[in-house]
């Protein structure tokens, strides 16, 4: 399943660079699109602002197929306090902007599965595909608006994959 998770993340990261090139962050010394995988970064007390954080949760498999189909639940968390220039009064607009970006990142809803553990990266034979986002109600915590969207990500386990 790791190849599918890596593929999903890289696809969304690359799409974010197109959907909103200005949404970037400095992480571990590198400037890059503001999307990260929570389980692959240092543990932090609170979500970074204006950044998409992918959190992998549920996993189910269907083994009654020639290739096992894995269904992985992914939560896309994001939080914003708006801009300093507007003293945070635009936090609703900022959240709506991120909502729209989530839709853009998830469209189209499939991408070829890649193995990023190899050098050079290799393309596998199946595609990773996913559902549309299910948006959860926004929550207010102090000066920030926070939301997460749930996506079911599907991938076939190809022969030889872990």
């Amino acid at each position: 399943m790791q190849n599918a998770k890596d593929t999903f993340y890289v696809a969304l990261r690359n799409r974010l660079a197109t959907v909103n090139p200005n949404r970037t962050m400095l992480l571990r010394g590198a400037q890059r699109p503001s999307i990260l995988v929570e389980e692959a970064e240092a543990v932090v007390a609170m979500l970074p602002a204006d950044t998409f954080v992918l959190r992998w949760t549920g996993l189910t498999t269907d083994t009654n197929l020639p290739l096992t189909l894995a269904k992985m639940e992914c939560e896309m968390h994001y939080t914003t306090g708006g801009t300093a220039a507007a003293f945070g009064l635009d936090r609703g607009r900022a959240l709506e902007e991120m909502d729209a970006e989530v839709i853009g990142l998830l469209t189209p809803r499939s991408t070829p599965k890649m193995d990023y553990a190899t050098n050079p990266v290799t393309q596998l034979t199946t595609a990773v595909f996913w559902t549309a986002a299910t948006f959860m109600p926004a929550a207010t915590v102090r000066d920030r608006l926070t939301r997460y969207a749930k996506v079911a990500v599907f991938a076939y386990q190809e022969q030889g994959e872990l």
């Binding site: 009654n64 197929l65 020639p66 269904k71 595909f129 559902t131 549309a132 079911a152 599907f154």
Partner: protein, 326 residues
């Protein structure tokens, strides 16, 4: 000499999770189904069925039904049964294929199943595919998984391409197709005397794994084995079936239920013919995603059991789990 007594268990209710389907060709011209012998091969490795059985994977909603009728001859007053007789033998079986491939599509559709030949430039449009690019000849030494060809013929082929390998249609009537009786030709005129007709319906298809300087390497062996000298190869784009057509597919079938205690139930239908046309079943995966599976419905046709000369439609075998009382 004596041996230690074994520890045995009492029989339990078989529990199974799923059913696996295997099909094998029927020689239609000779009227010969493929017979599965459970005494010799009943315990076969499910991943590697004995030849010529073809693994079509796990299936869903497997359901079989006996349509046999037994009637009684009543005599006396008041009438009472004197003797029973079998008035009819009949059986049907239905299930869903979970994967789409040449054979599962053909079995689901029931009639002629065609290969979409890569179209020739300017060919007239046709619902079951237009005239194909000319077939390429094979050279001697070809095998079921490698096709020797002249270098000049290789330009039209590439890795990842689907191909069909079969003989030119030469005006014959009757069943055609190598390895599998794929269609029945009533007259040369009915198929336009098309040299590609056999390749259009043939089950002798494969995926090209690589193109070498001397020919094609196939990713899967051809169903009919090593090609005959008169066979040619042609690129295909996919498959097509249709609602209509007079031909009935007929295949031998084997269904296996592996039990959780090591027991095995096998259902062998030597002759199955379809009872319906192409039909799919949609099942929710995660809205709006849906599985598209192939519905297949069959009627069992009779064979003669060589052990006693009786007609039979289906053979149900049971291989008990080890060390279980009988």
């Amino acid at each position: 000499m004596s041996t230690a007594a074994v520890t045995y268990s009492t029989p339990t209710t078989p529990a199974t999770r799923r059913v696996r389907a295997y099909f094998a060709p029927v020689n239609r011209a000779m009227g010969q189904p493929t017979i599965f012998d459970p005494s010799a091969s009943g315990g076969f490795n499910l991943e590697s069925p004995p030849s010529p059985w073809i693994d079509l994977g796990w299936i869903a909603d497997f359901s079989r039904k006996s349509n046999s009728a037994i009637e009684a001859l009543n005599t006396g007053s008041p009438a009472a049964p004197l003797v029973q007789m079998r008035a009819l033998i009949g059986a049907t079986v239905s299930f869903r294929f979970l994967t789409w491939k040449k054979i599962s599509m053909a079995l689901s559709a029931g009639s002629e199943h065609m290969n979409l030949l890569a179209p020739a430039t300017g060919a007239a449009a046709n619902g079951s595919g237009s005239k194909g690019i000319a077939a390429a000849s094979l050279l001697a030494g070809s095998t079921a998984s490698s096709l020797n060809m002249a270098a000049a013929s290789l330009a039209g082929f590439h890795a990842g391409q689907m191909v069909v390998v079969d003989a030119d249609y030469a005006g014959q009537t009757g069943y055609v197709g190598s390895g599998v009786s794929a269609a029945y030709v009533r007259s040369a005129a009915s198929v336009n005397n098309d040299p590609d007709y056999v390749r259009r319906v043939s089950f002798n298809v494969a995926l090209v794994a690589a193109v070498a300087a001397t020919g094609l390497t196939l990713a899967q062996p051809l169903l009919a084995g090593a090609p005959a000298a008169n066979m040619k190869v042609q690129a295909i784009e996919g498959f097509v079936d249709r609602e209509g057509g007079l031909f009935f597919q007929e295949w031998s079938a084997l269904f296996v239920m592996p039990g959780e205690q090591g027991e095995r139930i096998l259902y062998h239908y030597p002759r199955l013919q379809p009872t319906g046309g192409a039909q799919e079943e949609l099942q929710a995966l995660a809205a709006p995603l849906e599985w598209v599976t192939l519905q297949a419905n069959f009627r069992a046709m009779p064979v003669i059991d060589a052990n006693d000369g009786e007609q039979a439609l289906c053979f149900r075998s049971f291989l008990p789990s080890p060390l279980t009382l009988l």
